[in-house]
């Protein structure tokens, strides 16, 4: 259809421009990105099921040979139940903390009644640079963008793309992921940013003076209004002083079993309860005599949360840029 030689360069240019246009649209336009995620889910689904179903069938047959059919079913049911129970156990952590903090007030606002459903991670690989997984639930199961994804022991990540039958989840260890967290022991707030391939997270915006020790558990603070409050994210594995830099490097290892997980929990936190809980918590922080730096961290977390509020998470550089900007008034940031 084309003559060789002279038109080769021209064709190359045309397709390069076309690709560049797609890249720019994909990065800049949230609407385009959401539609593209839907489309990509539809296109990828046949390939994914081509890989996933034989593996599933093999696993199933494997189980069928070794045990009796009924036992297999029972086992599967029990596994689902175990995951649900474990997640409930994790919620008890929040309750405990609340009890200790406000024993006299027994208002039920801050406990988030979340609906959860079990989803399966498809046995397919994505680009190794991209720390994402594909779930077997999508639009039809009311999965929505930014939805939190958990497992029995911690936060897995959040939904970044929803298709008809599948959805894509950005793991907390991806460089584009930022989760507002707080120290379970003393309530110091921070943002946990993914480290990429190493499979760990880094806390940003922590002043040198703050009391954080190796082994501290960090739980979601809920300030982004997406994640449920008080769910474990990671434990402090390493604290590195950075010479003269007043900021320490704090590495978290994730609580969730990001590599081994086969089944995960999709949570539907109640937006209203979450907002109330966060507002209440922020007010409490204000009334208590707190060091100035800590208050700054609050506003920063909220700011970051708003940045990630879009259907697509912005590159990390932007997140930290937003976090570094001057803290704004809290009421405005929360609303």
């Amino acid at each position: 259809m084309f003559r060789k030689g002279s038109s080769l360069g021209l064709r190359t240019c045309i397709f390069l421009i076309l690709s560049t246009a797609l890249i720019v649209f994909d990065q800049r336009s949230d609407v385009f990105h959401a539609e593209r995620m839907r489309f990509s889910s539809a296109v990828a689904y046949p390939f994914q099921s081509m890989v996933d179903s034989p593996i599933r069938l093999f696993n199933f047959l494997n189980a069928g040979i070794t045990t009796q059919d009924r036992l297999v079913h029972e086992n599967e049911e029990l596994r689902v139940r175990e995951i649900l129970l474990q997640s409930r156990l994790q919620k008890l952590l929040v309750l405990e903390k609340e009890n200790a903090q406000l024993r006299q007030l027994l208002q039920s606002t801050s406990q988030i009644a979340a609906r959860v459903a079990v989803a399966r991670i498809l046995a397919v690989a994505l680009d190794p640079n991209i720390q994402q997984v594909v779930l077997d639930k999508g639009d039809k199961d009311q999965v929505y963008p930014n939805q939190p994804v958990l497992d029995g022991s911690g936060v897995i990540g959040q939904v970044v793309g929803v298709g008809a039958r599948t959805s894509r989840v950005l793991l907390v260890t991806d460089k584009q992921s930022a989760v507002p967290v707080e120290d379970y022991r003393n309530g110091i707030r921070a943002i946990a940013v993914g480290n990429g391939v190493s499979g760990q997270l880094t806390l940003i915006n922590i002043p040198d003076t703050s009391d954080i020790q190796v082994g501290d558990l960090f739980v979601t603070s809920g300030l982004d209004l997406h994640y449920p409050v008080g769910y474990p994210v990671g434990v402090v594995a390493l604290i590195q002083p950075q010479g003269n830099d007043p900021v320490k490097k704090i590495i978290l290892s994730p609580m969730a079993h990001l590599n081994q997980a086969e089944q995960v929990l999709l949570a539907w936190p109640s937006k209203q309860a979450l907002t109330q809980a966060v507002q209440k918590e922020l007010q409490e922080t204000q009334t208590q005599p707190q060091p100035e730096s800590d208050l700054n961290t609050d506003a920063k977390s909220v700011k970051t949360a708003n940045t990630s509020d879009k259907s697509k998470i912005k590159p990390k550089s932007k997140v930290s840029a937003a976090a570094k900007s001057k803290p704004e008034s809290k009421s405005a940031a929360v609303s």
């Binding site: 360069g9 064709r11 390069l16 890249i23 390939f47 994914q48």
Partner: protein
Amino acid sequence: MKAFQETNVFLIALSFLVAIVLTILPLPHWAVWLRPQWVLAVLLFWVLTSSEQSGIATAWVIGILMDLVTGTPLGLQAFVFVVLSYGVLRLRTIIEHLPIWQQASAIGVFVFLNGLLQGMGLSWMGHGAHIGLHTLSAITTTLIWPWIFSALNQLRPRALIR
């Protein structure tokens, strides 16, 4: 000629399908970076051997498909594949007549460039990228190229070449 081309198109499509399946097949954690770039290798084979049917346009379509299936930013792999195919088309007469292992090394260089360009693109877009680890897949692709080449060459109808 017409019917002949159609079978060839079917074979091309089938080879890409197999390559994509091999690309998204889950691997153990330690082996993830060793996975050969199946799709790129198959693409470069077709660009090299039957550029009448698979050239820049095919590279772009396959790149878009890969972006959709492997989750990279839309257009990134398409961009890189088009650049690499252009390079292969330009150097076609040289690469074609190289001894098989030298040819494999040449392909390895292209696969490495693929990792480099993709990694640069990903970092520029704020994703993490480990460009150094891509060298591993360039090596495995080099090692596997002679087999890909001879397998596809066997299947490819020869009448056109004569």
